[in-house]
């Protein structure tokens, strides 16, 4: 149920983001979701791709620092309060969200959000119990 995210350390150098994206493009790897956490001198690019293992190998081969992290992708009703509903469940069960971001595409009328929880396994159990739809690997590949 967990998905794999790739975190890439990027120093703030012109063209560095382009290098990552063009490398993935050449390897025919598709970016499904992305976000950048930035500081004045470096950033961390976080992406969810269709072929994470291949992506990491390709990146490392080119000297990038990349790390795989477990994340959970959740379907969220695209209406006011949709996200709040999920966060309520999460917070009531004392799970922390370290960061989150959204998918580029939608599978249905619902939005897709990526969560990094401090305890992904517990989060999955709780989400399931609350009948919240979790995106699987297979779901993602068919996007």
């Amino acid at each position: 149920m967990k998905l794999t995210q790739i975190s890439i350390f990027l120093e703030n150098r012109q063209g560095r983001l382009f290098e990552v994206c063009s490398l993935l493009g050449k390897k025919n790897i598709n970016i499904r979701a992305l976000t950048i956490a930035e500081t004045p001198e470096f950033g961390i690019l976080r992406i969810v791709v269709d072929k994470p293992q291949q992506a990491v190998s390709a990146l490392k081969e080119k000297g990038f620092i990349a790390k795989l992290t477990d994340i959970v992708a959740v379907e969220v009703e695209d209406t006011p309060g949709g996200l709040a509903g999920i966060l309520k469940v999460i917070y009531e069960n004392e799970i922390n969200v370290e960061y989150m971001y959204a998918f580029v595409e939608k599978a249905s009328s619902n939005a897709l959000l990526v969560f990094r929880f401090d305890d992904p396994d517990k989060a999955i159990t709780i989400l399931k119990k609350n009948k919240i739809n979790i995106v699987t690997d297979k779901d993602m590949r068919s996007l």
Binding site: S7, F9, E11, R13, T39, E41, F42, G63, F64
Partner: protein, 436 residues
């Protein structure tokens, strides 16, 4: 110009008499040095077993140079010449590999040092009427305490302000009508740049003179400081191995720093061939102590580059003058008055497992102050994909460097491979500060 002296007899002593005095004191120093494990072995090897083996000042040339590494190997006691119960204070320098150099002082040693500093202060025309604000750090760093005791001996009103806290420095200067300050040149410029921000005006002060030391600076910088504050600024020279400040100082004529040759034998050598150089020729300054009982040091290679001025000074002091320090014959960096070797930085950052193999030290000027930037590559296996983790790593590197080199650096994290140099020896230091 009104000339004043603290010890006129010694300060204006005829050079032939001064040389006789030097020989007498050198012999005493050799006797003291032979009490130490370090010099006993070293001098025995060249056939010096007692002061009787020194017949003239020329015999000094037979003695090998003492380096900073030698003194570090002596740590802590191999170069101590007296029983510890006679030692009343010690100072250490910052060490390159964690081991500093130590200088021990007996009561008489401190007395001698203080007297040299008082001579310096008087040579600039100061008197007991002056209010002296000492803006150098107190503690192991010799700059603060050295000037402090010299100024007290003269009877100046001493304000031991120590370094930093610019707002308070300005308030003290204003409230107590400070006439003389002791600071690094960059700190003087920094103070000036903060006047307006802290609500002061140059007219609030009664400043007449500044003693500037602890870092090299140019004649232009001196003139700039003199003009900004409408004061006279005097160049001060010292190093911890030779006590600290008080080794050399400018007199009212500001044409080179008089070296107190009854306390130090001054030599200038070619740092490569180690041959003695003539006056007027730039080389590395070498000192032999003449008035120290606890820590005699023979032919110490300072690594400071300067030359000896030919001819006499108008102040009638017979002690020769050296030029301002123009550079170093090693890779030591001076950052806001604090001495740092690149190897110290390397030692620390290479101990941190998250750091990869490459680093780069960059020095820049930000306003009047120096900025030390340490760029490190992160080790890919240590990357957890977490921003907090990287911030923590940065804080850790800053804290480790700060505790060891006493400078607050700016740390930048980089990707592996981005700092390396593909061929030849990697360049680890980039000094982008304007040249002196």
């Amino acid at each position: 110009m009104k000339l004043s002296y603290w010890n006129k007899k010694i300060e204006t002593m005829d050079r032939s008499l001064l040389k006789k005095l030097q020989l007498k004191l050198l012999k005493e120093t050799i006797t003291h040095a032979l009490n130490t494990d370090f010099y006993k072995n070293r001098l025995k090897k060249i056939g010096i077993r007692s002061s009787e083996d020194i017949k003239s000042l020329e015999d000094l040339e037979r003695i090998p140079f003492t380096t900073k590494d030698d003194l570090r190997e002596c740590y802590p006691y191999a170069h101590l010449s007296v029983n510890l119960k006679e030692v009343v204070r010690l100072h250490t320098s910052s060490g390159t590999t964690g081991i500093p150099t130590v200088v021990y002082h007996t009561k008489n040693d401190l007395d001698g040092w203080t007297d040299l500093v008082t001579r310096c202060i008087v040579a600039t025309g100061c008197s007991s009427l002056d209010v002296f604000q000492n803006m150098m750090s107190y503690g192991l760093f010799t700059g603060g305490l050295g000037l402090h005791y010299g100024a007290e001996r003269l009877g100046m009103t001493v304000i031991p302000a120590a370094s930093g806290n610019t707002r308070r420095q300005l308030q003290l200067m204003k409230d107590f009508r400070t006439t003389v300050v002791h600071a690094t040149p960059s700190y003087m410029l920094h103070i000036y740049s903060k006047l307006e921000e802290f609500g002061f005006n140059i007219k609030d002060f009664n400043l007449k003179k500044a003693f500037l030391g602890a870092e090299p600076y140019s004649e232009n910088t001196r003139r700039k400081i003199e003009k900004l504050f409408s004061i006279d600024a005097y160049n001060s020279y010292g190093l911890s191995e030779m006590n600290g400040p008080g080794v050399g100082f400018e007199c009212v004529y500001k044409c080179g720093m008089h070296i107190w040759e009854d306390a130090y034998i001054l030599e200038v050598i070619d740092p490569k061939t180690k041959k003695l150089l003539r006056e007027d020729t730039e080389g590395e300054i070498v000192f032999t102590t003449l008035n120290r009982r606890a820590t005699p040091i023979l032919r110490y290679r300072t690594r400071d580059l300067a030359f000896i001025y030919k001819g006499n000074c108008k102040c009638k002091r017979s002690h020769r003058r050296i030029s301002r320090i123009t550079g170093r014959s090693d890779d030591m960096l001076i950052v806001n008055g604090v001495n740092v070797f690149p190897s110290q930085i390397e030692e620390i950052i290479m101990k941190i497992p998250e750091v990869g193999n490459n680093y780069l030290v960059r020095l820049e000027k930000e306003g009047a102050l120096d900025k030390l930037i340490v760029k490190v590559e992160i080790y890919s296996k240590m990357f957890k994909g977490d921003l907090k983790e990287l911030d923590k790593l940065k804080e850790k590197i800053i804290a480790e460097l700060r505790s060891s080199i006493i400078i607050h650096p700016i740390v930048e994290l980089h990707e592996p491979g981005s700092l390396s140099v593909s061929e030849g020896k990697a360049k680890r230091v980039e000094d982008l500060r304007p040249k002196i």
